[in-house]
């Protein structure tokens, strides 16, 4: 191995201000929509107003006659060169996958699907002309909502014969990681506790602030696509694989990208159409969506019904967990599509020692916007389910929610721990994170206040919610992805270029869109290579510069991309050492590397890495057995996921007369291993928290019965504002559980806040009114839902459980009654 410097880490752990910020705070940015090329044409899409319809005719004449319109094209104007939108993760070999044309010629399957494209000299003229395209449709019955889809009465795609796409099953008894869950449930029914619940993960919209935009320039030898994407490399591969253009003729650039959250982890119809139009017309084209189009047609997230059975003994020690998910894919299976709920399969057991576990996921197709990854992707759903259930178990046993968790979690002495889902958690310390969060939150005082208000019968009740989450991130070991039939690997690539002037260029296959890689990666390199932070330049997001990569999602950039970078740096140091020994006429064994300088032990002779870079460039004097270069590459395939965890505590006030909910305090103590930049970490946590809190309290994408997106603008889709949110108390354990599977000891943090916070908030809301007989409020916990739940309980009964809400439960179970505040479980939110 390499002789790395042993000077104390100067950069890692430092709250460096970000290198990215100068251009962003002065407006010197390059968003895709800022790009203008000579002769560039603009696209406007004509979208279907119907959720399901045959296209009988497309009359483009009036649009073509509109001023400065260059072309109007519909699906039938294209052949195979239009390509298809891919699903990279068929979750079972017999998955039913509808053909997904970027612009179908015959039939549309969701409202917002593109049926024609107008090309004009300006965006305004293109939009004007789009209004003039006359499309005739024959409306077909549309299937909206998971429960309707499961009935298979109306089909999203009649040719498939069913709406059921795939059933994916994991059973610990079958694979040998645990025992039989049915037996555990049986035992618990007679001699223990069985908790059965149905939870709804409403449909969400990632709602990145930068609308998606794509520019395609077909002039020159390579066709260049700029796109507001998280995945330039995957995009390039998919364009090559589906449109007949050789990969070597395609250059994809993700310039400054304004947020993604999984929402830009997609290969989109809009990109494919822009690609085809630019090739057809041999002119550069640009398409930038409006916000309404973005909300309607960029992929949505979550949308599951979770049917859950938890078995425990009388003391509340868990004995089994059975999970059945029904997941709405929307009209098509998007790039990761059905894989998203499957990513949750390994996380329902969370930090607890379940001896038995069964997970089933049924994916269904509906005539709605297709769904895919949204921050956390599968893991927030799993964490929500288990953390809600643990609170229910605590209530059943009659102990504090923290106490029930402590009875069941993996203790810090038990790591590494192989879970019932078959994952090996390398490190963690749930006790330490909980103790720290508890103290910082003022848990005991808030519990005392809660009791006091309850005793007093205060109109405003206080609830405390707990979420002791873990997650699997750092996607992903390629072999594991292979075993799950994902279409690609999970490695990452990095290069280090030592420039002649002593500056260092880092090339990473990760593709930042707000994460601050330029800063964090510079810190890593500055420490490891011993060069000034300022001298490191991070290049990314252009397939001609960063030729290899698998991009940014799944909290992978630092733990996978960072490790590739470390390994590339180590190779540079190895080469430099060889050259240094030659120049210093010393033995490599006598060289010491420290602070960016090789010195010969016991002498004052030495040479700096920058001098070596210059020497390698000049190449006047170097050893016979090496090339005159210090540059190095590394491709790193992770050996395991990593498992950040944390304890999140939330205090909510609920006005029992109006149903209004108000966040009082939120504390989280996350253990994410070694922290490279605490400022960036805090930012990731804050933003993640608010996205998770927004699921709990505000956001929901709603399609009406006809399949029209009702929440189609920011007026109706309630993104939280600064006035809705509070400042958070973010702390970390004093001694982090250092990750053992990467050199730096880091764990991912990009999704942690979102994964953890949703159940903490809902647990707090329910905790505030549990004494009224309420054990659930459907998300988002709007004042109206909370108020109705309270009214329902006052009227002496639970809210009606829809007849088909819990199909597989035994009748007459004690904890069957539902107090859900849902207005209408079948309608709202599906």
């Amino acid at each position: 191995m390499t002789a790395t410097q042993d000077r104390p880490a100067a950069e890692i752990g430092k709250d460096r201000r970000r290198k990215e910020d100068q251009r962003l705070i002065t407006g010197r940015t390059r968003w895709t929509d800022n790009i203008t090329l000579p002769g560039m044409l603009h696209l406007a899409m004509v979208r279907s107003p119907f959720a399901h319809a045959s296209i009988t005719s497309v009359d483009v004449e009036a649009a073509k006659a509109s001023p400065n319109v260059v072309a109007v094209l519909s699906g039938k104007d294209f052949g195979a060169e239009l390509g298809v939108c891919i699903n990279a993760w068929p979750i079972t070999p017999d998955q039913k996958t509808p053909n997904h044309s970027p612009m179908p010629a015959d039939r549309v399957a969701f409202a917002g699907e593109i049926v024609a494209v107008v090309v004009a000299r300006s965006a305004a003229e293109a939009r004007d002309a789009a209004e003039l395209v006359d499309v005739e449709y024959d409306e077909l019955p549309a299937v909206i909502g998971i429960k309707n889809a499961l009935k298979d009465e109306v089909l999203a795609h009649p040719d498939l014969g069913t709406n059921k796409s795939a059933l994916w099953v994991f059973d610990s008894n079958e694979v040998g990681t645990g025992s039989d869950v049915e037996a555990a449930i049986e035992t618990a029914r007679t001699d223990g506790i069985v908790i059965e619940r149905e939870y709804r993960q409403q449909r969400l919209i990632p709602a990145f602030m930068e609308p998606r935009s794509v520019v395609v320039d077909p002039t020159g030898e390579q066709i260049t696509m700029w796109s507001a994407t998280q995945i330039p490399h995957i995009l390039r591969f998919a364009l090559a694989a589906t449109t007949g253009v050789p990969e070597s003729k395609i250059r994809v650039i993700a310039p400054d990208v304004g947020g993604g959250f999984g929402g830009k982890l997609q290969t989109t119809p809009e990109e494919w159409i822009a690609w085809a139009v630019a090739r057809r017309l041999s002119k550069p084209v640009k398409y930038t969506e409006t916000r309404s189009e973005s909300l309607m047609a960029a992929h949505h997230g979550r949308d599951q019904v979770q049917t859950l059975t938890l078995a425990a003994d009388k003391d509340g020690k868990v004995t089994g967990l059975k999970v059945h998910l029904d997941a709405d894919l929307g009209a098509y299976i998007a790039v990761v599509g059905g894989g998203v709920p499957v990513l949750g399969a390994f996380m329902f057991n969370a930090i607890y020692k379940f001896p038995s576990y069964r997970f089933e996921c049924q994916t269904v197709l509906t005539n709605t916007t297709f769904t895919d990854a949204y921050r956390g992707a599968g893991r927030p759903e799993a964490t929500y389910a288990i953390e809600r259930l643990m609170d229910e178990l605590a209530a059943e046993v009659g102990v504090d929610p923290l106490e029930i968790r402590e009875r069941n979690w993996i203790t810090h002495e038990e790591f590494p721990f192989t879970t019932v889902a078959g994952l090996e958690y390398d490190t963690g310390n749930y006790e330490a994170a909980t103790a720290k969060a508890r103290e910082s939150f003022g848990y005991d005082a808030l519990r005392a206040e809660q009791k006091e208000r309850r005793d007093r019968g205060d109109r405003v009740q206080l609830g405390i919610g707990v979420s002791t989450f873990t997650e699997m991130c750092g996607l992903a070991p390629s072999r594991v992805l292979g075993s799950l039939d994902y279409g690609a690997g999970g490695w990452e690539h990095a290069s280090v270029r030592m420039l002649a002037t002593g500056k260092v260029e880092i090339v990473t296959g990760a593709s930042a869109h707000g994460q601050g890689h330029e800063t964090a990666f510079s810190q890593i390199v500055a420490d490891r290579l011993g060069v000034p932070f300022e001298d490191v330049e991070v290049l990314h997001g252009d397939t001609q510069i960063a030729h290899k990569g698998l991009d940014t999602y799944g909290s992978r950039s630092l733990v996978v991309g960072g490790e590739a970078l470390v390994r590339a740096v180590d190779k540079v140091i190895d080469k430099a050492k060889h050259l240094a020994a030659h120049l210093l006429e010393a033995s490599e064994d006598d060289l010491e590397y420290k602070g960016g300088r090789f010195t010969v032990a016991g002498t004052d002779q030495g040479v700096a890495i920058q001098e070596l870079a210059t020497a390698a460039f000049a190449a006047h004097n170097y050893p016979e057995d090496m090339e005159p270069s210090l540059d190095a590459d590394a491709t790193y395939d992770p050996v395991n996921f990593n498992y950040p965890h944390g304890t999140h505590l939330c205090a909510m006030e609920v006005d029992t007369e109006t149903g209004a909910v108000k966040m009082r305090k939120y504390t989280c103590c996350d253990d994410i291993g070694v922290i490279i930049n605490p400022l960036i970490v805090a930012g990731q946590v804050h933003g993640g928290l608010v996205q998770g809190i927004a699921q709990a309290l505000w956001e929901e994408a709603v399609h009406d019965d006809a399949g029209t997106l009702v929440s189609g603008s920011f007026v109706d889709y309630l993104l939280p504002t600064s006035a809705d949110t509070i400042s958070f108390d973010v702390v970390h354990t004093d001694e982090p559980s250092v990750c053992t599977t990467n050199t730096l000891g880091t764990k991912g943090v990009g999704e942690a806040g979102t994964i953890a916070s949703t159940p903490a908030v809902v647990n707090a809301v329910v905790d505030a009114i549990r004494h009224l007989g309420i054990n659930d409020i459907q998300m988002p916990c709007t004042p109206e839902r909370v108020w109705r739940a309270i009214q329902g309980s006052k009227a002496g009964g639970a809210t009606e459980t829809p007849p088909d809400a819990m199909p597989h439960f035994a009748e007459g179970e004690a904890n069957q009654q539902s107090h859900e505040g849902a207005l209408d479980q079948d309608g709202a939110g599906q």
Partner: protein
């Protein structure tokens, strides 16, 4: 087409524009002031916020012709950035990590400058209410609020 003459970031400009052209489109498409961005089509996000005669406006909510004869300041003219200068609010956003992807940032900064002009010493609550019209999806607002308070603090010192 209507002829307009106005001052943008200190420079006098004059153009023939369609009456329906929005100020934000004028800034981006005619003047290349792409520092100001568009995040929505319902005047909800505030990404397009600029100053019109010194007061913050959502430039997607103003017609270019309405800016005739007036003075517009965008994020690009807030300080002499070519000289390396930053407006104290810009500096505060960097100092307090008040941005991640940076897409909302020009609007946030312009709104914050206006807010602090009106109320140089706001409480956290006042900052949260004053910034309510600007959406951010990345930061959870925690550090944006901190940035504004930090700028206010700096102005007092």
């Amino acid at each position: 087409m209507t002829k307009i003459e106005l001052t943008v970031d200190g420079a006098a400009v004059s153009d023939d524009v369609e009456p329906r052209m929005l100020l934000v489109q004028y800034l981006r498409e005619k003047l290349g002031k792409t520092g100001t961005v568009i995040g929505c089509d319902t005047s909800n996000c505030g990404a397009c916020t600029v100053h019109l005669d010194g007061t913050s406006v959502k430039s997607c909510n103003v017609l270019a012709v309405q800016a005739n004869g007036r003075t517009v300041t965008t994020i690009e003219g807030l300080a002499d950035t070519a000289e390396g200068d930053l407006h104290p609010v810009q500096a505060s956003f960097r100092e307090c990590h008040g941005l991640q992807c940076g897409f909302c940032t020009p609007g946030m900064i312009m709104q914050a400058v206006d807010l602090l002009g009106e109320n140089p010493d706001p409480t956290e609550e006042e900052v949260r209410l004053g910034m309510e019209g600007n959406l951010c999806r990345c930061t959870g607002y925690h550090n944006i609020v901190k940035s504004v308070l930090h700028a206010a603090e700096g102005a007092k010192a």
